[in-house]
Symmetry: C2
Subunit: 171 residues, 2 copies
């Protein structure tokens, strides 16, 4: 798909069809995240891919609004280092945002929908995913083909108007 | 350009040619940011676009490694709200990362290179950009056509190996 179409086709998808995601497509989505830029190229991430249904159902319990993970074809857990100081905290989150966005655009390009979830219960996430104590789960991304309608460029995204968001030269 | 090519073509560009960016191309890059997803769709961003050379040169002083901004065809300042509590801080940075990544992929699709800069001197940034006291500058993105070579898919990105970064099912 043309890049501009993929960017405009990405939307939050939280209801997925039964269709599985081909392994090579899943690998491409993850590769997009691996290639994402990060502060001084520190790459503060590991990605745990979950496709097992009982594991997805368990993972959906880590946050009150993560129910869509239970019904996804796959989920990716974004895991980052527990930082000793706050100095790099903002960039850790910024960089995970970059990696997730890159994956979501790569997914949209393949017709695969995606949705975010936060992780409130870190200990439950650790039990399910097995990452060590010096890591935590930053966020989850669910993936799957949309049940309602195929992805297509959104003509009127639910966003603040361009002229309000974009300032020329000065505020 | 195909999405997968644009994602693999994006690289940090910090040396730019003299070529200006067409206004419609700049608008498309900004539109990609405007469409980015954010926590509960709060869209915690304003984008200030700078193309005036003296203003770019001034902006390059906000951080020791922001020199590339001075020579860019354009820069985008990502401005966010000063938060009253830390509760949403992580998501603010995460969401700005998503918006920046979306813009960078949209830029790569057009052959436009991009580079990040942090903002250490917030008061200088405010003087140059004019945003109000209840906002701060999260980051800068410089844009321009690469001076060295055109963007093309990177075959061997400088990243940790796929099999180290990606874990199947569990850590």
């Amino acid at each position: 798909m043309e890049t501009w179409d993929a960017i405009r086709s990405r939307r939050n998808v939280r209801v997925f069809s039964e269709r599985a995601i081909d392994e090579s497509d899943l690998a491409r989505v993850l590769e997009a995240g691996r290639r994402a830029p990060s502060s001084r190229n520190w790459q503060p991430w590991d990605f745990i891919v979950v496709t097992d249904r009982p594991q997805l159902v368990a993972l959906a319990e880590v946050w009150r609004s993560a129910g869509h993970v239970a019904r996804a074809a796959a989920a990716v857990a974004f895991v980052g280092p527990v930082l000793e100081s706050d100095a790099n905290r903002d960039w850790l989150w910024f960089d995970h945002g970059q990696a997730m966005m890159s994956m979501m655009i790569a997914a949209a390009d393949l017709g695969i929908g995606s949705g975010h979830a936060a992780v409130a219960d870190q200990e439950l996430a650790r039990t399910i995913l097995g990452h060590p104590e010096d890591r935590f789960c930053v966020a989850l991304m669910s993936l799957g083909y949309p049940q309602d309608r195929a992805l297509a460029p959104l003509q009127r995204p639910d966003r603040r108007p361009f002229d309000e968001v974009v300032h020329g030269g000065r505020w």
